[in-house]
Symmetry: C2
Subunit: 153 residues, 2 copies
């Protein structure tokens, strides 16, 4: 297979987040590149964030490692320990199970582009700034276990 | 963890390839970023190829998916089905087990930079253009199984 033909892969801003948490990612346009290219053991998303968009709610994975490569533009990485600007060529790594929630916010006035890769076993995880967890079977719950009426994509 | 501090991670051009196959990758300078940042379920390398350098001998993995993001400069991706130039922002995906050997050659006159991520189980693999395989236990052999006196890094 030669280089990935990104234009042939559907780009979507769909999210399974229940309202009002869906609004923050409305300007996140992503392609499920790993799935489209036949990868099984790693998941890969190629994402474009419009100005103001978030990459996700600030989250962590209990059982999956994540690695991000900034490809173009810039965004602010927010974690428990503060904010860091990422620019083209910068990388960020999130080992599974640390509980250190992270996301990117495009605070610039131009689109930014990144690729994020994940691997491991989905054993759930959670969201640092809101009352929400995700479960291995694709549900969202409050932190007390009460389900949301929403399905993770 | 904020963005990866690449400068804090050792950059090396070491290879376990037996001669004369080591020469082609002498200008490949890589950092084991995944290992250095505590990732377990995915492997991540950040690599700089000097002009003329190869990313590896042209190879495939039987049990591991690979995904590459070109970060800067350009290189030629060589596979069974031909040559494709990769530039900053381009991606390539190699599902495990296809046997389609691939590598990058920097045919430009400037350094190029890429990040490659792998995940899955090392069940061995091989090299398309030379008489060599690699085994799950880190050895190199000829295609008839005769070992090389070399240890995979």
């Amino acid at each position: 297979m030669p280089k990935v033909d990104l234009n042939s892969i559907e780009q979507t801003n769909r999210t399974g987040y229940p309202p009002p948490y869906d609004k923050d990612v409305a300007g996140r346009w992503y392609r499920r590149v790993g799935q489209a290219t036949g990868l099984i053991d790693i998941g890969v998303s190629h994402a474009v964030l419009e100005p103001g968009a978030w990459s996700s709610q600030r989250h962590w994975h209990d059982g999956e490692d994540e690695f991000l490569v900034m490809v173009a533009g810039e965004a602010v990485l927010v974690e428990d320990d503060g904010r860091t600007t990422l620019r083209a060529g910068d990388c960020a790594a999130w080992p599974k199970g640390t509980g250190n929630g992270h996301h990117l916010i495009n605070e610039s006035d131009a689109d930014c582009v990144f690729v994020v890769v994940g691997g491991g076993t989905n054993t759930g995880g959670g969201y640092s700034d809101i009352d929400m967890l995700f479960t291995p079977d694709g549900k969202y719950t409050h932190k007390d276990g009460t389900p949301y009426d929403a399905q993770r994509l």
